[in-house]
């Protein structure tokens, strides 16, 4: 029994010695390897190892990203489409604001020019009105403005812009008025040529052209001569600018010369006009001899 106990003790001692030896050897080997690695002796081997690791990781990473892209791409497209719609809506709104601001800037420029014109002629009282329509008949050249008798407008009052004469009021209701343009075929304005100091009659036409008639044959008219209202007949105040002579027609067998006038006012783009409210037109019809 005692012999058996001694054998067992010997065996345990051997096992303990063996495990301690193994642990010591492992530590020594590991420590040696670490010392060699820290000393740079394994750099080539470690480079190969880490490069392989990096390549493997890169492969997995690229595959993962590809799968992730595949899965998440539709969601991104949808969000991009939504974002695109929002941006397009913003863009449309900004475009509308831009147009509105440009329109306001244009109106401001027109009103500033009209104000300058009114201040330059303090003898007249002006009231502004917006052009809201044109005569529905192509035979006539009339515009409709948004102010009428409620604003003191009366039939016969002259209408101008900062550039020159537009026409005169033909009919009035409470909140609107109809203005006969000087281009109307029934319009007839007494004018004078500034350089030639001669008076003539300005008539409109169905095509919108403006012509001078009743110019005496002995008068020399130059192209570029300025045409102004003469004030004769009491229909318009004097010295309102109408346009310039662009063409003269003089034939020996005619009683009078004729001339084509380029109006200073662009009648196709009238937006705001001024009405001279302190001018009282004179009706000379009763003084005209009956035919």
């Amino acid at each position: 029994m005692a012999h058996l106990g001694i054998d067992c003790l010997h065996s345990n001692m051997r096992n303990l010695f063996s495990r301690t030896l193994q642990t010591t050897i492992i530590f020594l080997v590991v420590g040696g390897v670490m010392a060699l690695a820290l000393g740079g002796y394994f750099s080539s081997a470690s480079n190969v190892f880490t490069a392989s690791l990096v390549n493997v990781q890169a492969w997995f990473s690229s595959r993962f990203l590809a799968v992730q892209d595949f899965i998440t791409a539709p969601r991104d497209m949808a969000s991009l489409r939504q974002r695109n719609i929002e941006l397009e809506a913003d863009n449309a709104e900004l475009q509308a604001q831009l147009i509105q601001l440009q329109q306001q800037a244009g109106e401001t420029q027109i009103l500033a020019a009209l104000l300058d014109f009114a201040q330059a002629r303090p003898e007249n009282s002006y009231r502004a009105a917006a052009v809201i329509g044109r005569d529905p008949s192509p035979f006539l050249h009339y515009i409709i403005i948004n102010r009428g008798s409620n604003d003191g407008f009366l039939r016969g009052m002259p209408v101008v812009t900062d550039q020159g004469l537009v026409g005169r009021i033909d009919a009035v209701i409470a909140d609107a008025a109809r203005v006969q343009l000087i281009t109307d075929p029934a319009s007839n304005v007494n004018v004078r040529l500034q350089n030639a100091e001669v008076e003539a009659s300005l008539v409109g036409s169905v095509t919108g052209d403006v012509n001078l008639d009743l110019i005496p044959q002995d008068i020399n008219i130059e192209i570029g001569d300025l045409v102004l209202t003469s004030g004769l007949g009491g229909g318009y105040p004097p010295d309102l600018i109408i346009g310039q002579v662009v063409n003269v027609r003089s034939r020996d067998f005619d009683l009078f010369q004729q001339a084509t006038i380029q109006p200073v006012v662009d009648f196709n783009h009238l937006s705001v006009v001024l009405v001279i409210v302190n001018f009282k037109p004179v009706d000379i019809a009763p003084l005209m001899p009956l035919p």
């Binding site: 529905p136 075929p185 169905v206």
Partner: protein
Amino acid sequence: MRNLIALPVILLAVILQTAIVSRVYLLSGIADLPLVMLAAWALQEKVETAWHWALAAGLLVGFVSALPMLAPIIGYFAVVVLAQILQGRVWQAPLLAMFSVTFFGSVIASILSFSVLRLSSVPLPVGDVLGMLTLPSVLLNMLLAIPVYAVMRDLARWVYPAPEVE
């Protein structure tokens, strides 16, 4: 009561005419929206009468325009007469009838305006009127004819719905 729809429709047409259509020129000619609408309305099969449409259009245009009142009234009545004559006679070709009424109606309205203004001593050279004004206006009216006919057909279907078949 159905005929009362003429008032707002014609009023809208005259507003559009003065505010927009009269500013769109072809040479010196412009389209006549009330005339084309009147022609399209009068040609609809279900429409019982278009005389009051012509009267409303004539009065409104005569009020807005510097033309003597009689010219648009007579012109629009002439369009309705033309439409009554052609309605049903141009077999299965409503658009052809529409073009015919628009063409002849525009020419008649133009001749009427020309005559009335000449009687009022307004100088109007015939050549200028024909070449620069009447023909371009007729062309613009013909261009308006198809879309206006479609709109008025829908309006007629709404005002005169088809009876339900049981």
